[in-house]
Symmetry: C2
Subunit: 233 residues, 2 copies
DNA sequence: GGGAATTAAAAGTACTACTTTTACGTCACA
DNA sequence: TGTGACGTAAAAGTAGTACTTTTAATTCCC
């Protein structure tokens, strides 16, 4: 139904995970493993493995004599890329997009500052390359190409920061940018001001100007937030 | 050996997860499920469930005809609280503590700013209470009590920010503070300057002064980073 | 009416048999 | 000698069954 998937496990996991994160089962809902096995037409073995994974994401809790209980949103591992993807695919994408964008606005400026201090020449080169790529594709309905450069740019910044936790947010940023592009304004061209800012960040990093890189990235973030305010409830 | 644990699954998971995050199995190491079953003296069923969870954390990858391969650090879900706990318990605690503290320094100031805008009266009260608690326990070898207030304080700030992603970092902050306290300087009293700053943050939030709350929290973060620089390689 | 004993429901565990994928080695052919 | 088709076996994946353990809920006794 949702994903063909190779392997029963993946299929059941994707379906259940999506359903839970979409709020189809309100917190407190109790599922039984045999029931699930029957519903998905797989063995209890498969269901149990899926439940264990869901449990490790704190989406559900499994207790003897009770069953598998759906947990409230507050306990979910919302940093799990899988969970993020499910939620962005589901109903509360707007809320999720906003939370993540605020997170970005906190993290990316600091990451850019560190990148200015730690970026390798190679990373500087990549940064410039992608910034120019953004310029080149910022007009004429080339949003898909633009998106690729945008994602790559931010990923390089996060990696260049030298901080592992920042680096691992690359996937999150990618999901946010992709979701944003594929959701609203696919037809319009990106904000020219933002494009310029990216070029300037690349410059600042190349010139090892941490304060400037941080400030410019902060401006990008503010812009993204404002854009979201305009286009979302 | 590590945890008695209730349930074979938890035990095997804890042992294996800890071993992998500790680097006992270099990336590329291949484990076989039957072998693991034998080693832990449990059924393959249990091992498979554990592997599935480990796989969802991107610590390992399971492929047919090959086995269970340990993945490089770069692909681990480093935001998974479980993974964080394992890593903090292991060998590279210093590195980990630094990464997490940098993350905090990026996130918490922004969270504090938002908290000043969104905190409920109840949350303001709690904030003040814990800040005063920190003051009260900041002298006379009462580090354990101090820690409780410190953790609670930061948790309230993160929750009060109203941002879900920030809120979920409460556990991470708790782990960092706990690790920090239980590692170095158990015997010394906390930095008085930091204590004062916490009181002031509570004040700023209560007075809805977002800019001040943000700035003060930034100072706390800077202090924490400096402290780490002094006490760690 | 409250607390102890009983029951049964559901997850947890084990084991066994079978299927599916796929790395690797073999062999034929160019 | 190199290259591609092919076969084989190793390991994970799946299924099903039987049994154990925990524990919520009911019953029953005082």
């Amino acid at each position: 139904m949702t994903t063909p998937a190779q392997g029963l496990h993946s299929h059941v996991l994707a379906t259940l995970g999506l359903a839970i994160t979409a709020g189809e089962y309100p917190p407190g809902t109790v599922l039984r493993t045999d029931e699930l096995a029957q519903r998905f037409d797989v063995s209890r073995t498969v269901v149990r493995e899926v439940v264990r994974v869901l449990e490790s994401m704190h989406l559900v809790e499994s207790r003897r004599r009770v069953g598998v209980t759906v947990l409230p949103t507050a306990s979910w591992n919302v940093y799990d890329p899988q969970v993020i993807r499910w939620r962005l695919a589901g109903a509360d994408r707007p809320r999720q997009l906003r939370s993540l964008t605020v997170l970005r606005s906190a993290v990316e400026p600091v990451a850019a500052g560190l990148a200015a201090e730690n970026a390798t020449p190679e990373q500087c080169r990549e940064l410039t390359e992608h910034a120019l790529g953004m310029v080149a594709t910022s007009r004429g309905r080339r949003l898909e190409e633009y998106l690729v450069h945008d994602i790559a740019f931010h990923r390089v910044v996060l990696n260049a920061s030298g901080n592992e936790m920042f680096a691992r947010l690359g996937d999150v940023v990618a999901e946010v940018l992709t979701g944003r592009t594929h959701h609203h304004v696919m037809f319009e061209d990106p904000d020219p001001a933002a494009v310029t800012l990216h070029v300037q960040v690349a410059e600042a990093v190349r010139e090892r100007d941490a304060a400037r890189a941080e400030e410019l990235t902060r401006q990008i973030a503010v812009g993204a937030l404002q854009e979201l305010d305009v286009l979302a409830p």
